[in-house]
């Protein structure tokens, strides 16, 4: 069993953001969460990763049968969790290569030299059609939306997580970049069949590349409907049809 979210409740500024949110994602599965803006999807992804600015009121998160609630974000990452951010941050003064080498060193316990590292990154950057110069620039600084998202995928290729959360990976991507990102993710999944993926998205475009096992519709901090790819297509065509979601579904 990979990730088990058990009755998560989270309140921010007296507003309930997660409402008894429960979901289990098994090893090798791909799940999709779709939901309107402001429904708590990014908050959920940050809570899974251990962002200290969010506190759970109640609930538990199990990863491979162990609670990870008391673990720091870096400990969660080193257990194999990875969050691709909706808005990856820019960090002035810290070069991408220094960042990635440090992350790799923390994972493997030994630091690789800059030269060997750049050589090692060559293929991955080529796959993503990223300019090698980006390694030497400050993290995400001056990167376009698409370049930032590719940089997230580059980190996946480098750190080889076993559980990936993709928060709006398709936002800010043009058709060509979407194809590159989609193809790279598809290949990663093929090479690592045990990887579990949680895709958070507004649009099912990315699902042309990664086939989901389950599609969930999230409204007001909880899953109100679960289905397959048909649900995603339905949401794309008809929106979330919030009227269909009864108050009962939202507040038990």
């Amino acid at each position: 069993m990979a990730l088990e979210l058990k009755k998560l409740n989270c309140t921010i500024a007296e507003k309930k953001i997660l409402n008894d949110f429960s979901l289990t994602i098994e090893e090798g599965q791909t799940h999709v969460i779709m939901g309107p803006n402001g429904t708590g999807k990014s908050t959920l992804s940050h809570i899974i990763m251990g962002d200290p600015i969010y506190k759970l009121d109640s609930g538990d998160i199990l990863f491979n049968n162990e609670s990870i609630l008391s673990l720091s974000p870096d400990q969660r990452a080193n257990k194999g969790l990875f969050l691709s951010f909706q808005n990856p941050l820019s960090i002035e003064g810290v070069s991408n290569s220094e960042f990635l080498r440090t992350a790799l060193a923390e994972k493997t316990g030994s630091k690789v030299g800059l030269f060997d590292f750049v050589k090692q990154m060559d293929q991955a950057m080529d796959d993503l059609k990223m300019d090698e110069k980006m390694l030497h620039r400050s993290i995400n600084k001056g990167f376009s939306g698409g370049e930032k998202k590719k940089n997230e995928i580059l980190q996946i290729k480098l750190l080889k997580p076993s559980f990936i959360i993709l928060d709006e990976i398709d936002s800010g991507l043009d058709v060509d970049s979407l194809k590159i990102v989609g193809d790279n993710l598809k290949r990663y999944q093929k090479e690592n069949p045990k990887v579990s993926i949680l895709i958070i998205t507004h649009y099912p475009r990315i699902l042309d590349y990664i086939k989901p096992d389950f599609v969930h519709m999230m409204v007001h901090g909880k899953i109100v409907k679960t289905g397959n790819i048909t649900l995603a297509k339905d949401i794309e065509q008809n929106g979330y049809r919030l009227n269909d979601v009864s108050e009962n579904d939202i507040n038990e």
């Binding site: 974000p73 969660r76 990856p88 941050l89 960090i91 003064g93 992350a103 400050s138 750190l159």
Partner: protein, 250 residues
């Protein structure tokens, strides 16, 4: 590289023909690079550094636990790039842009453990003079650091550019402050300034940590990035500067 080193009261110089040194006065005659190492003296130093016209030079300064006064005079069509690494210093830095198109690029990085004040005075005394100041300090204790930055543009100095970026990252709470004063007497000037006083952004820390980097390592990355940024200096100098971060880690 040319070198001036002060060891207690003794001054050791190793200089070529591009500069001339006498009695705490350094004169740059041709394009050059020089390192001024005050890291091993306990003596407070007053140093005057003057350029000739039409020179481009780089200076690296290391200082530690002293109260120093640096007085730069930059002549026409000359440029000075200065990287100044200071550990627990109270410094006064005076830069006179004395000739047309005189240009200073001053990157001042400071590690602060006890109470200090650093005062910059940059005087645009001629047309088309340019100053670019980066003052980045980190306070590692409850003692405060004050950056006072006074930029003066004379009334007859046209088309000057003055840029300043003053930031203090406080790793412990204290009453540090940044006091920028712009005294601009000429309308045709391009002036930019930014100031920040506080700790590292929580979202940035979380982003780094989420990649498996421990909190301590995150701070190390961020501190090094903050203090040096794009500045390229020898590993040996970086090690000298950054080892103070480890010594006082509580």
């Amino acid at each position: 590289m040319n070198k001036i080193k002060v060891e207690n009261n003794k001054i050791i110089t190793d200089l070529d023909q591009s500069l001339f040194y006498d009695e705490y006065k350094l004169k740059i005659i041709k394009n050059t690079n020089v390192m001024i190492d005050l890291s091993e003296t306990k003596k407070d130093i007053t140093l005057e550094i003057e350029t000739k016209e039409n020179t481009v030079s780089s200076i690296i300064i290391l200082s530690h636990l002293t109260n120093n006064y640096f007085n730069y005079k930059i002549k026409a069509y000359s440029k000075l790039n200065i990287v100044h690494l200071a550990v627990d210093n109270t410094d006064i830095i005076n830069v006179d842009l004395k000739g047309k198109e005189a240009n200073v690029n001053y990157h001042y990085s400071h590690l602060n453990f006890k109470k200090n004040q650093v005062t910059f005075n940059v005087n645009h005394l001629e047309d088309d003079t340019e100053s670019y100041l980066v003052n980045h300090g980190v306070t590692l204790t409850n003692d405060k650091l004050i950056f006072e930055v006074n930029v003066y543009v004379a009334d007859n100095s046209k088309n000057c550019i003055c840029n300043q970026d003053n930031k203090i990252i406080m790793l412990k709470s204290n009453t540090s402050s940044i006091l920028p004063n712009l005294l601009i007497n000429n309308q045709e000037v391009e002036a930019n300034h930014s100031a920040y006083l506080g700790s590292f952004n929580k979202n940035i820390l979380f982003y780094l940590e989420s990649r498996g980097i421990s909190k301590n390592k995150c701070y190390e990355l961020l501190l090094k990035g903050f203090l040096l940024g794009e500045v390229k200096i020898d590993k040996q100098l970086q090690d000298w500067f950054f080892h103070y971060l480890n010594i006082k880690k509580v």
